[in-house]
């Protein structure tokens, strides 16, 4: 990765360590949440853990939505109400709930069949 430059990253870091709470802080939190979720999804062998990780990822994204819905980030002449991010976050929560329900059901079914919730053993669909 030598020679690789990320021109947009330096101002972001500066703004985080700089004055007051800004969008950047929210984004950092969201990113941490997202990363934590990803890590959780990849390392956990328990299906429930993986589901939790998914929740984290979704919430990390929700944080970002909400953060981007901030008036500071909105340009002039915007015609929307300004709560788009929040609405989408609500949708995500809703969907996450539904998804969790389905996923838990699958997990339960899997458990019934295999007496385990270890995702590594769920390779029935292997090609």
């Amino acid at each position: 990765m030598s020679g690789l430059t990320m021109p947009g990253l330096m101002p972001l870091v500066a703004s985080v360590v700089g004055d007051g709470v800004s969008v950047s802080h929210y984004l950092v939190v969201g990113a941490i949440l997202f990363t934590a979720g990803i890590v959780c999804m990849t390392v956990k062998r328990n299906a429930l853990g993986v589901l939790m990780g998914i929740e984290l990822v979704l919430n990390g994204a929700n944080v970002n939505f909400v953060a981007f819905a901030s008036p500071y980030l909105r340009g002039q002449g915007a015609t929307s109400l300004g709560i788009d991010g929040q609405v989408i976050a609500l949708f995500v929560i809703l969907l996450a709930a539904a998804e969790a329900a389905v996923a838990l059901a699958i997990t339960l079914a899997f458990y019934n069949n295999h007496a385990t919730v270890d995702v590594d053993r769920a390779d029935d669909l292997k090609g």
Partner: protein
Amino acid sequence: MDLAAQLPLLLGLAWLAPLASFVAILFFGPKMGPHGRNAAWVATAAIVTSLVLSLLAAGSWLAAHPVQAAHHGGGQHGEAHAAEPAGHGADGGHGDHGGHAGAVQPAAYAGDWYTLYHGGNLRLSIGWYIDALTILMFVVVTFIATCIHVYASGYMHDELHDVTDHEVHLSGGGHLHRPGRFPRFFQALSLFCFSMLGIVIAGNLAMVFIFWELVGICSWFLIGFYYERKSASTAANKAFIVNRVGDFGMLIGLMALWGALGTLQFADSTTPAADGSAVTRPGLFSLVRPAANGHGIQVPDGMVKFAAANELVKTPPAEVPGKIDTWRSMGLGRWLLFIAGLGIFCGCVGKSAQFPLFVWLPDAMEGPTPVSALVHSATMVAAGVYLVGRFYPVLTPDVLLVIAYVGAITLFIAATIALVANDIKRVLAYSTVSQLGYMMLALGVGGWSAGLFHLVTHAFFKSLLFLCSGSVIHACHTNDMRKMGGLARVMPWTAGTMLVGCLAIIGAGIPFVIGLSGYYSKDAILAQALAFSRANPAHSILFLAVAGGAFLTAFYMFRLWFMTFAGEPRDHHVAEHAHESPMVMVAPLVVLSVLAVVAGWTLPGGFGLTNLLEQARPTGTAEGMTGGFAFGNLVFPAEHESHEGAIHVTATLTAFSTALAGVVLAALMYLLKIISPAVVATVFKPVYAFLAGRWYFDELYHALFVVPALGIAKLASGTDRGVIDRIIDGLAWGTRQIAGLDAWIDRTIVDGLVNATARATWHAGLELKKLQTGHLRQYVMFIVVGTVALFVLASLLFRTTMAG
């Protein structure tokens, strides 16, 4: 009724009557009485009808052309016939050329019945040419045929019921039993007579050729009558094929004439042209002996032109007529005329069993004896001599010399073989060949009337001899003379008539007073041969041949008679069964023996065969002839000169003494047994073996012609299978190889590429399949890593935009 209309009608009907009988027996033969017994009556009735019609025709002829004594006196000759009505041109008869001094047209009537092919100036037709010779031959043929029919109806009675053929051995043992074939015999006999009469009446060479072949096939039927016998069917085939060899030559002669002259008609013919006027086209006789040349022989214009066109540069047609005489004097076309004559003679060589084609005739003895009698006397073999006589005006001196030598060789060879033959019919067969040699020789040395005279007398006594031998065979059931002997006591009629025949054939007579028929005809031949030898010393061997032949003839004929009839029976089994033949067989013998005696006589007033023949003498042949280019200059003395004292006396005495010597020798050996034949045979063993082996002609021809022909045949057939088919099959194989290569290219290269692609895809899929582990966490890793990688990639690729 006009003679010109009457003669063709009478002779035409006489000619067709046997055909009618043939057709009738062909379809209804087996239904004619029990076992077809009445077929004999049908056939005999037909031939008697022919005889009656021929006699009627002869009567009309003699009424119109009374036979007079010929005044043999040089220039007087022309006037001898001056009284004849020379012009019969009105409806196709000869034109009147009688005005030319020294050469009188013979009275002849010619015309066409029927056209086979007509295109442009070329016409092939069926027609008639009737002169004294035709009429004479008609009477002779029908008369002898009548005798033979009557005789055969007795001889062939075995065929009236089932026959056991003792000469056929079946593979399962035993002999062949078969139903009789009585009608079939008479059916073939009728066809034979029809064909022979067709040759005699023919008005052109094409028609001669047609009936020539028909005679050949009739002989095939009759010689092969006992077709269950291998020897009979082989003899029949041999007869026909050897005759075809002669016909091959004849065909060449026909082509030479037809190609250059465009006609094969003997006489001038008149055809109505499109505009109604009559167009007269000259026939062969007047083309070769034109009146303008004093009826002397010359190469016709057509042949001169033909030869000139082949040998010289092409000349504009307008200039051709003016040059013909120049060309002719250059000798152009004389080879063509020579070949034409020689070719026609070739046909006669085959039919008349002359050297080198005589081999078929002795084998023809396989047929029933009446057939032999007919074949050997008045039909078939007579046809060749008759045609030479008929075609005589066209034969050049060179051709005549060839004919004379062929005749001489034939008569000598055949006579020598006859000396040692033990089969009674074979002796007679070789005697026939020998006598035919006489006739040919006579014709060849300029003895036109002598040759034909002998033809007629020979017809009578040879048929007599054969019928007698048939009678003997009928009685003894064997042909072998060594088993006979002393038969005169049981068969007096046969013995007596056969003695007459033997005397006639050797030319017995009281010199200068009277004799049997053979005496006159043989004398005439000897005289003419002597005259010719005197005129052409280089060819005096011809006379020696004739004189020697007379000795041999006398010897073998009396050897035959003595062995058969005289002495003591050699085989008692044979002698006990011998009996005189029934009346129906004896009667023809008596009739024929009377004729064998008187046929040569000339009545006071000049009525006789020779003078009748003189009426038909071809124009321009009475004066003798000189010429020839291939064998030096030849002189043919006029025939009447040979009747003059010096020659005639010598000839007669020669004939008498040689014949007497022959009879005496035969008597010494076979009657008085003073000289033992067995001792002679031992002393001259090689010669005897050579003669008994018939000069080994059959073996020679087999090695020279049959074996090579079969070899070539095998080669041709093998070439087809081995070469042509190999090439064809090879081509097909090559094509298949090329196709195989093509298929290989398709399979390996074209298909290979496609298959390789498919295989590569397949293998790629297999490899990729391994990524599908089924581990959820791994998938997540892939997603993450992939997403990151995508971002990195995007950031690398779209660096500028992001930077912007």
